[in-house]
Symmetry: C2
Subunit: 431 residues, 2 copies
């Protein structure tokens, strides 16, 4: 009889997380990595640094076959993960002298760089070199080690440092450990099929999914709206391949023009850059209400500089005139938030920045600045490229952040549609 699928729990510690002062990056990273390995976590627990709730959470988490804890390994008094993990496992804490020497060597370099005495670090070094009895260090990144403890019947507890870069650097060491590999033998990574739509509502996609029989029979489908896209993930367990294929085919034929990505997880900005690259087009943008977000998303992609030449954030009207060469008459006649201005901004960015295609936006992100004729959420986009110019008008809802993010997503999809000639949005107008 094969052993059952391992139960996995992730614990993310930090009072700033439990109070909502910081967004957690480690839970999502660990969840993604574990899911890809077939070890999708049953739950992710965020908990503060206070001893009682943290102790309760850890005691519960070590019941799982695999428990991965992030944070609380630092040198400060409120870093309690190792001490409380040891207690949850019923083990004592012991200083690992060779680890202490490693941490001291690292701390010497830091102290030198910051021009601080090493003595400032001394108590932290002893603290950070303390491990639950029987546990071992998986290596250092920064001054904190990652820690692995094997306990009851092949169960594994792993503690990783909280800074995301350090956690991500040490994670492969945890995966490579024989005890982790032993758990992996009991996991079966499901095959994952993904479809991304732009256009239909989440309800319509869900209805199409139900009409085609829904999930079950080794297939689990989830529908979610994300950044104006509708994502369908179909997780196919062994034996569910045929049913999974049917579901995917049914969804594909329900919205043939709206499906833009199949098993393609690249963010839309990366797709746009790829389309420009394959057509030999340089890309530029002129942003008003998105204030730099389009440029920021495009340049987040490594290697974007071979396609993206740059952008202008034209917040003041004067900047629209001087940097983008926008005729003052257009602003005077139609106003800054108008289809004409969006078109002229795109044309101006294409010309001024020497690009083959350019996208522009102008709108009212709010909360102030709206009028009955031009309410908060009104956004015009303009694209100017080798196939001509086109504008689109949207009335978006939400707060300032939401409107800016939606306008950015719409702009990127307008570029995609233009570059793939994949039809127009009913809201787009050729000019």
């Amino acid at each position: 009889m094969p052993a059952s699928r391992p139960r996995v729990v992730v614990v993310v510690t930090g009072s700033e997380l439990a109070r909502g002062d910081r967004r957690d990056l480690n839970g999502p990273f660990l969840a993604r990595e574990l899911t890809q390995l077939g070890l999708e976590p049953e739950r992710i627990l965020l908990v503060g640094d206070r001893p009682e709730p943290l102790q309760a959470v850890l005691a519960e988490a070590v019941e799982a076959d695999l428990c991965v804890v992030s944070g609380g390994l630092g040198p400060t008094h409120d870093d309690r993960t190792v001490e409380l993990l040891a207690r949850a496992l019923g083990r004592s804490l012991e200083v690992d002298e060779s680890l202490a020497r490693e941490i001291e060597a690292f701390s010497q370099a830091v102290a030198a760089r910051l021009r601080r005495p090493l003595s400032e670090f001394a108590s932290g070094i002893r603290k950070q070199a303390s491990l639950p009895a029987g546990g071992l260090s998986l290596g250092l990144a920064g001054s904190a080690p990652a820690i692995l403890v094997e306990h009851a019947e092949g169960k594994v507890a792993i503690a990783l440092p909280g800074p995301p870069a350090e956690l991500q650097r040490l994670w492969p060491n945890a995966v490579a450990h024989p005890a982790f590999q032993e758990l992996l033998r009991r996991a079966s990574a499901p095959e994952r099929r993904s479809l991304r739509f732009f256009g239909p509502s989440e309800s319509a996609v869900a209805a199409a999914l139900e009409e085609s029989g829904g999930d079950g029979d080794g297939v689990e489908a989830t529908v979610c709206a994300r950044d104006l896209e509708i994502h369908v993930d179909v997780m196919v367990s062994p034996g569910g391949e045929e049913r999974g294929g049917e579901l995917v085919a049914a969804l594909q034929s329900a919205f043939p023009n709206d499906l833009f990505a199949r098993d393609d997880e690249r963010p839309i900005e990366e797709m746009v850059l790829g389309l420009c690259r394959s057509r030999g087009l340089l890309l530029a943008c002129a942003e008003s209400c998105t204030g730099g977000l389009i440029s920021a998303r495009l340049t987040e992609v490594a290697g974007s500089s071979d396609v993206f030449v740059g952008g202008v954030v034209a917040y003041a009207n004067r900047v629209k005139e001087t940097t983008l060469g926008l005729p003052a008459e257009i602003l005077a006649k139609h106003g800054a938030v108008s289809a004409e201005t969006a078109a002229a901004m795109a044309a101006g960015a294409r010309r001024a920045l020497g690009a083959g295609i350019a996208i522009a936006d102008t709108g009212i992100a709010g909360p102030g600045g709206g009028t009955p004729e031009k309410p908060v959420g009104l956004v015009y986009l303009g694209v100017d490229g080798p196939e001509g110019a086109r504008t689109a008008r949207f009335e978006l809802s939400g707060d300032r952040e939401t409107i800016r993010a939606r306008a950015t997503a719409l702009a990127l999809h307008m570029l995609r549609r233009t570059l793939t000639h994949s039809g127009t949005d009913p809201r787009e107008t050729a000019s």
Copy 2:
């Protein structure tokens, strides 16, 4: 005898969260709101849509005095929160006919806008109008209602829709409900004192905290590094006021030049805009390696347009020359990544965009493009304002995203220091 402090648990549902495909915004929002009300959550649980783990989490969560659940209220088959919450509470599900009419009215508008038949929405409407017996709707945002159920001895369970804008719109209705207010009477919101430092290491701040006696006696202090700032939060419970004041004073005198915010939670970009406003200076930026992030952060602040005129994302060298008027000789002699280029970009942005002060950056965000002389992570900043020009050189570590985010934070703090004349970073050079 006063009733004890309410135990609070937050549950955030969604397979895309448990798999790490999306960052959760609702947990942090709810945690922040609850903490401000004195109801800091004991734990935040993220769990997927599969029935068994979700059922287990909800059964556990409703044991708390207050349980707030986000997500899983949608019309689709994998939205199971209400059904499983009812089961956790031992209640049946009942369709609320008046709620059904409200949801239908909303759905009609959506169907009309999307040009879809209302029949597509019919089963979703019945599903979304089903409540645990005895529960009530707190209002709609989108098609999903927020739900409140009072159960055993004043305990309260609340379910809110997953889309962050909808959740945030309905949250005040939950807080206003008498059962929630009754819980609030048992909570005592601790006073919160916060200090933010720019300069010292987290270890140094933690050491200073310990030297001054550490926390205890009604005072809980946490130290965390965030966006290159070191934040110290001192939560003062009734009776701990004196000790709290001592701690704050000790930290303040330990790093007098590095403390830049006291009980001031405004993000650095908002502080910079405020400093410009009070000095009557218009602000511009010229970005290379940050690719729009500085502009995006500044324009995230509502009302930024009265100070921030715009920016140029000068990714290609040609854009640096044409849009910012950067002399070709500087690029030829010193290269795009140099102090001279950063200075000339700042001067160019100030002139071309008509600003009183401008910030510029140029650097190598990686992963490609590094050389032994100019490695990945090398970043130059330049500021040009009424008090003259200054540049700074940094060697940053981390991946592309980290380097870009750190360069952005350094640029904003360089602006702050320039605007407050609060000394220079040892790495800054007047030019």
